[in-house]
Amino acid sequence: MEETPRRAGPVARLGTWVALVVMCFGAVLMVYPYAYAVGGSLKTRLEFSTDKPAVIPPRYQPSTLMKQFGSGEPDAEYLGILKQWPPLRNYRDAVVYGRIDRYLGNSFLYAVLMTLVSLFFNVIAAYAFARMRFPGRDFLFGMLLSTMMIPHAVLLIPQFLVVQQLGLVDHLLGVMLPGFAGAFGIFLLRQFFLNIPAELENAAFIDGCNRWGVLWRILVPVSKPALITLGVFSFMGAWNSFEWPLVVISNEDLYPFAVGLSLFRDQNGQDWPRVLAAAAMGSTPLILVFYAAQKFLVGGISLSGMKAQ
């Protein structure tokens, strides 16, 4: 940004530095809970109960390391603790005792399927709303948009009753079905399609392509940024959703990560390092997905006011 400094004087420069310092302080506040959680996930159970505020597990703190390794042999008790609690022990325990791997697998399946299916349904609906002429099109589109106004708290009970009537309680399909299409995604994709010049398609029509072919060969490849943005947000929404799967699924084998983590915490009230390890395992995939797709997302997020949850 080539925004010219307001007054090139020292006051303006001071302002920039003050802003920078405040933002850095804010960044520390943002990162602290994660550092605390990751640190906690590396602690032994004793360390966690005796030294709660510590971010770095006491056995790895510089002062301890200096004392133990600085002059000669570390004492036997300390070596025993190190041997008994290898760094990733809590992560292994979260898998062995909490079946976090199972929940992560469920979440992955559920998020991937929901993303692919919802993208497919949203793309074809958005294409029809953007390009085709059929009676009642705008009215139907308005109806679809109006569903965005309904708070999900109101839909929780009736959607459960519908899923129950369909016999899908305790099925992953029951969790996914209401999310297989969404007004917001259709709205966003329709906007994107409307901004693509029609000449692009006309050339393909002349070559004998039909609607379906044009959509998948011309429009979809051009809309990659919008599709990735929408896909990532749909994935995150599915991965983070909690209340809905909590209601639909009661079979522990089918729990997605968020519900499974909550259950694991209830069963392991005394073993927080394990719970925090499980929490870390379930949060990192999302941060990686976000990081990988970031260059597509930054514009999309600011433009659309999208929200994952």
């Binding site: 405040v22 960044a27 506040l29 943002m30 708070p151 009970i157 007004a183 941060i287």
Partner: protein, 281 residues
């Protein structure tokens, strides 16, 4: 132009899956909710006894009803979150622009809470609030603590929205103000604030609607306690519908009352700012 036919009936096939799902899970579901709210509903049997408006009456005037308590708690929470959000996200956006360096890093770091599962955030803050002095064990501080967590997790996301809004303000406006001899405060007051109004309204409305439905953090951190100080509407609805037998109609009535409250807020906001155009589109 093209030699496409005038009407393309095939369009109905393209919108059928999405529209069918919307019919079933939005429109039909709203009907189901209304129907359920007029019955004493047993979810396990799958039918109920018609009781008219009794469920609404019990929510509003019943001796054992905690509707008003939950509404008061939820409203207090909403006020705390909205005020806190505006007092953090907007200044952060202004500072982020002013900082000039490391903007990309700040955007990423501040956004990470938005992509962290709500359950994970709640579990971490459950521990942090414990370390900081048992905020969740005290009836006076539990709700504000949950609000602080919500502000922490939403501030970065809203900062991005404000940054987008700020970027839409043409630089000419600032140049013109400067030529007229405006100081930094005048610029903020007479250029930034009025032109950012749509973004502010959008953020407030979305925050209010979201905060009125707070559930996960209460479920994970306090379960409505201590002394019912964090008993909120969405949690109350969930418990009545899915943990108490035969109260699904009662919970549905409560959900409709929550809908009315949220709807009123949206309408008030819209009228207050006299703005039909909320955000892009």
């Amino acid at each position: 132009m093209t030699k496409r036919p005038r009407q393309e009936w095939i369009g109905y096939a393209y919108i059928a899956p999405a529209f069918g799902l919307a019919l079933l899970f939005s429109f039909f579901s709203m009907g189901v909710s209304l129907y359920t709210s007029l019955h004493e509903w047993d979810a396990f049997v799958g039918r109920g006894r018609f009781v008219g408006l009794e469920n609404y009456q019990r929510n509003l005037f019943g001796q054992d009803s905690i509707f008003w308590l939950a509404l008061r708690n939820t409203s207090l929470y909403v006020v705390l979150v909205v005020v806190g959000m505006l007092c953090t996200a907007l200044p952060l956006a202004l500072l982020c622009r002013r900082a000039r360096y490391l903007q990309g890093l700040f955007r990423t770091l501040y956004f990470i809470p938005s992509i962290t599962p709500g359950v994970v955030v709640a579990l971490i803050f459950y521990q942090i609030f414990g370390v900081w002095g048992k905020l969740l064990d005290n009836a006076a501080t539990a709700l504000p603590a949950i609000a602080i967590m919500a502000i922490w997790s939403g501030a970065g996301y809203n900062m991005l929205l404000f940054l987008a809004g700020l970027n839409e303000i043409p630089q000419d406006f600032y140049d013109a103000a400067r030529i007229d001899g405006a100081g930094a405060w005048d610029e903020f007051r007479h250029v930034t604030v009025p032109l950012l109004r749509n973004t502010v309204v959008f953020v407030m409305v979305m925050t209010i609607i979201g905060a009125y439905q707070v559930f996960t953090s209460v479920y994970v951190m306090t379960q409505g306690g201590p002394e019912r100080s964090t008993e909120v509407l969405a949690f109350n609805i969930f418990m009545n519908a899915f943990s108490v037998a035969g109260q699904m109609g009662y919970a549905s009535a409560c959900a409709w009352l929550l809908f009315v409250v949220i709807g009123v807020f949206v309408l008030i906001q819209m009228r207050l700012y006299g703005s039909k155009r909320v955000y892009d589109e």
